[in-house]
């Protein structure tokens, strides 16, 4: 198993050629690559907006772009990064590729639905891009009313429709995963033998299916109110603007868990394989994913402590927000304990896993700060919040996504990437990220409000540090883009199981066969049982 197998059969990349074979494919692996291409594009687009934002903020006056342009930049940065990159990032690429392979089946339960979800996602994305080219939107990604319904004079409805449509892609993916995980596990693969990535995908899918319809309805109501003056949110028409915030955060808080639960799943895989040990407290890690998914639906009001919601409601939401922090803490401790007496290697994916644990710890701890009522009053809507959610979304999700992409790259493409460059870029990203976002915690506590085009001079030193960090981070993200593409042609051929991992996806060829496995695997061991590798060698 360890040595590279000579390709004797066509794999999923070579068994068919041509544009049509890609655009009409029902192979989950190819659809994963279609998603990978799309979200990479959106990531770099969102990154360009971030770059201009950071350059503008280098100096206190708003001198690089106009106020209106600045507002459009942070809105599009948020909309694109949240809805078109972070939410689909791990589920639609790594999840699509891996869920069937990890549970030992040929494809997802509904391959055509899977392809449809990619097309729906693209239509939603194109709507947002079209709105952007028409002149953009300046409501912030949060679309707060009555600004978005009655005052903004930008392309709100078109953008909202784009997000509405893209939401259905998310629902279909979630549905597909739930059914697949329930129905299509290989013989012997009981729930407690599943890789933790599958548990986290399952929990994520629950949120996608249950939460996304709410944001779809909310966004639709914004469009209807704006177009036809429904009077649901606008107080001038008898509506209630705070109702919008409840509806919006009812989805948008769980959406954070759509981003970070898959990341946690990836990290569980990485920590295990690169320390060659079972994940410590498997069941605690597994059920903490489910706990996060469930409790995550009960904490939305912590975005609204100063919104005029009742102080007692705020107390309840604060309490529940602390509860959701417990399962996250359990995961961090269990990953750390997994390292104990392990055989730890420093391959690139493991560096990303270390980075994830460190940054997620800081993001999570500052999350408990924000759940603390009095503290939140001072820092909500400041850069403290900006720093916190970037630690979770970029420090957490993005680190795990990159870690996962490196880890499964040999399987997906059949090629190895340049390890030296990969390690270097992991380090650059980690340092650049901290330099960008750590100063924002201090700046936020000092009182720097978010979404400010111009700002008082005393904040400049922190903005300069942040912008300097952002340029390091940008370089860090460009390096993998180069060596990944380079590896497709020039990379070393990947063996079937380069990391000596135990997951079923490593028991087939790299890249996998079109139908994944020659014969359906039978599972008779727990996940991460590294002793089976030796048995296989002997056998």
């Amino acid at each position: 198993m360890i040595t590279a197998t000579v390709e004797t059969r066509e794999n999923y990349l070579t068994h068919e050629y041509g544009v049509k074979s890609w655009l009409l494919t029902q192979d989950h692996k190819r659809i994963a690559l279609l998603y990978l291409g799309a979200i990479s594009f959106f990531f770099f687009l969102g990154g360009i907006f971030a770059t201009v934002i950071r350059l503008e903020l280098l100096t206190p006056p708003g001198d690089l772009v106009s106020a209106q342009t600045y507002n459009k930049l942070f809105t599009l940065h948020g909309v694109i990064m949240v809805f078109l990159f972070l939410i689909p990032a791990i589920p639609a690429t790594l999840g699509n590729f891996l869920v069937p392979m990890m549970i030992g089946c040929k494809d997802l339960a509904f391959p055509k639905l899977n392809l449809l979800s990619w097309y729906i996602f693209m239509v939603g994305g194109i709507c947002v891009l079209y709105a952007m080219l028409q002149g953009g939107v300046d409501t912030g990604w949060t679309f707060y009313v009555p600004f978005s319904t009655s005052y903004a004079n930008t392309y709100v409805i078109l953008t909202a429709v784009g997000i509405f449509i893209a939401g259905f892609a998310s629902i279909l993916t979630g549905l597909n995963f739930i059914v697949t995980i329930h129905q299509m596990r290989a013989p012997g693969l009981t729930w407690y033998r599943l890789p933790l990535f599958i548990w986290s995908m399952y929990a994520t899918s629950l949120i996608m299916v249950l939460g996304t319809p709410v944001v779809a309805v909310t966004i639709l109501l914004v469009a209807l109110e704006r177009g036809f003056h429904f009077g649901i949110f606008d107080p001038a028409l008898g509506g209630d603007p705070v109702l919008f915030q409840h509806l919006f955060w009812f989805y948008s808080h769980p959406a954070v868990y759509i981003m970070v639960l898959p990341a946690m799943g990836v990290v569980s895989e990485l920590v295990s394989v690169y320390s060659r040990k079972k994940v410590f407290g498997y069941k605690f890690v597994a059920f903490s994913s489910v706990a996060i998914a469930v409790l995550g639906f009960l904490v939305w009001g912590h975005h609204m402590f100063v919104s005029s919601q009742s102080v007692y409601a705020s107390m309840v939401f604060s309490f529940l927000s602390f509860l959701v922090a417990v399962p996250s803490a359990i995961k961090v401790f269990n990953w750390t304990a997994t390292l104990y007496k392990g055989s730890i290697s420093y391959d690139t994916p493991m560096l990303y896993a270390f980075g994830f644990i460190g940054l997620f710890t800081i993001g999570g701890l500052t999350g408990t700060f924000l759940a603390t009522l009095g503290f939140d009053v001072h820092v909500t809507d400041t850069y403290f919040v900006v720093a916190h959610f970037h630690y979770i979304m970029v420090g957490g999700t993005m680190m795990a996504y990159l870690g996962g992409l490196h880890y499964w790259w040999p399987k997906m493409t059949g090629r190895m990437y340049a390890e030296g460059w990969a390690k270097l870029s992991a380090l650059v990203i980690f340092l650049g990220f901290n330099l960008t976002f750590f100063p924002q915690f201090i700046m936020g506590y000092l009182g720097m409000p978010r979404r400010y085009h111009a700002y008082p001079e005393e904040f400049q030193v922190y903005h300069v540090l942040s912008t300097a960090g952002a340029s390091v981070l940008a370089v860090g993200y460009l390096i993998p883009a180069v060596y990944f593409i380079w590896s497709l042609r020039y990379g070393k051929l990947a063996p079937d199981n380069p990391w000596n991992a135990t997951g079923l996806e490593w028991q087939t060829t790299s890249p996998p066969l079109p139908e994944n496995f020659e014969i359906t695997p039978v599972v008779n061991h727990e996940a991460y049982d590294y002793s089976i590798l030796e048995e296989m060698k002997v056998g």
Partner: protein
């Protein structure tokens, strides 16, 4: 203090000090946990680094005791955060009874503040040292948020609704006022200054300059101008409730429910009179929606409040005051009806 580099914002109120103590606790907990995690990761990563490709680590199975410890200990520390945070929050949410009232109206993209004595300011607020200030706030358009970092005070300012915040300045000086809720193109320009002055200096400031009449007396003029007094009589039973002494009391409605006659109820009764009608009265009052501005409403409310207080008042109760010869107020446009300074 070096203005170009600071790590803590100014502490200009007791609440700010209380919050910073809480912050210190949060930081200590965070420091302990992150140090613990980072140290363990570094230690394990170095001690157990892979020395040969054939290593077979011994399996360490999960330990229930450990799982319980790292569930319970963080939970207890977080419950301390919760209770401490909630107590600071309640302190922030409850203005003291003796607080001086200031009205705030936010609009794209300025802050308008009004003192009871009649002083009006734009993007500025002057307050005396050592006296609690209660802000009653509303917005003319979108949602804004009144944020004063030095006092650790932030609260959203909504259209169609009154929200309150309060602070008790303990240090004279000039402090930032920011809009913290994104409100459109010039959001970052919706900023101003809070001036905390020695009480005597503040009195001089109040008396000087563009003094004008008190809010209540402006409200009384409006009350007459809009012909409210024709029905809301204080000398004899009228077609509408007597407003004397009504503010702050519980009012019975036609539905049998009771409502507290606070700012929100008076505002609603002026703009949407048929929403909640006082028991024993007909639904005959016209709506003044579109005829009075948010500032006019605040003046009317302040006038009605002043009717409630016994003894001579600023603006004064007006028992039997004859309506002056102002006619046809109902047709007036929706702009403020009293002379404005600084507008």
């Amino acid at each position: 203090m070096n203005p170009s580099f600071q790590l803590l914002p100014e502490q200009a109120s007791a609440t700010a000090v209380h919050l910073d103590h809480l912050t210190l606790y949060l930081l200590i907990v965070a420091a302990i946990f992150s140090t613990l995690i980072f140290a363990l990761i570094f230690f394990f990563a170095i001690k157990y680094r892979r020395r040969s490709g054939h290593e077979r680590p011994v399996e360490v199975h999960g330990a229930l005791t450990l799982e319980i410890i790292w569930t319970v200990v963080p939970f207890i520390l977080m419950m301390i955060m919760f209770t401490w945070g909630a107590s600071v929050f309640f302190e922030m949410s409850r203005p003291p009874d003796d607080a001086m009232n200031v009205y705030v109206v936010g609009k794209q993209w300025m802050w308008k503040t009004q003192h009871l004595e009649g002083q009006r300011e734009i993007n500025e607020l002057h307050v005396p040292l050592g006296r609690p200030v209660k802000l009653t706030m509303t917005s003319e358009d979108v949602i804004h948020s009144f944020y004063m970092p030095a006092f650790r005070v932030k609260f959203d300012v909504l259209p169609g609704k009154y929200t309150t915040a309060w602070f008790n300045p303990t240090k004279p000086g000039k402090y930032h006022l920011f809009c913290a809720e994104y409100c459109g193109t010039l959001h970052s320009g919706m900023i101003g200054w809070i001036y905390v002055m020695e009480p005597a200096e503040y009195e001089r400031w109040l008396a000087g300059g563009s003094g004008g009449e008190s809010l209540a007396s402006n409200g009384e003029k409006l009350f007459q101008y809009l012909a409210c007094a024709n029905c809301h009589r204080t000398d004899k039973p009228g077609r509408c409730p007597n407003l004397q002494g009504v503010f702050g009391t519980a009012v019975r409605l036609t539905t049998g429910e009771t409502v507290k006659a606070d700012e929100a109820y008076i505002r609603e009764s002026i703009l949407n009179p048929s929403a909640r009608i006082v028991a024993g009265y007909q639904n005959i009052m016209p709506s003044f929606q579109g005829q009075v501005t948010e500032e006019d409403l605040l003046q009317l409310i302040e006038y009605i409040k002043s009717l409630g207080k016994p003894g001579p008042q600023v603006g004064g109760p007006a028992p039997g005051a004859n309506p002056p010869a102002l006619q046809g107020g109902a047709a007036a446009p929706a702009r403020s009806l009293v002379p404005k300074q600084n507008r």
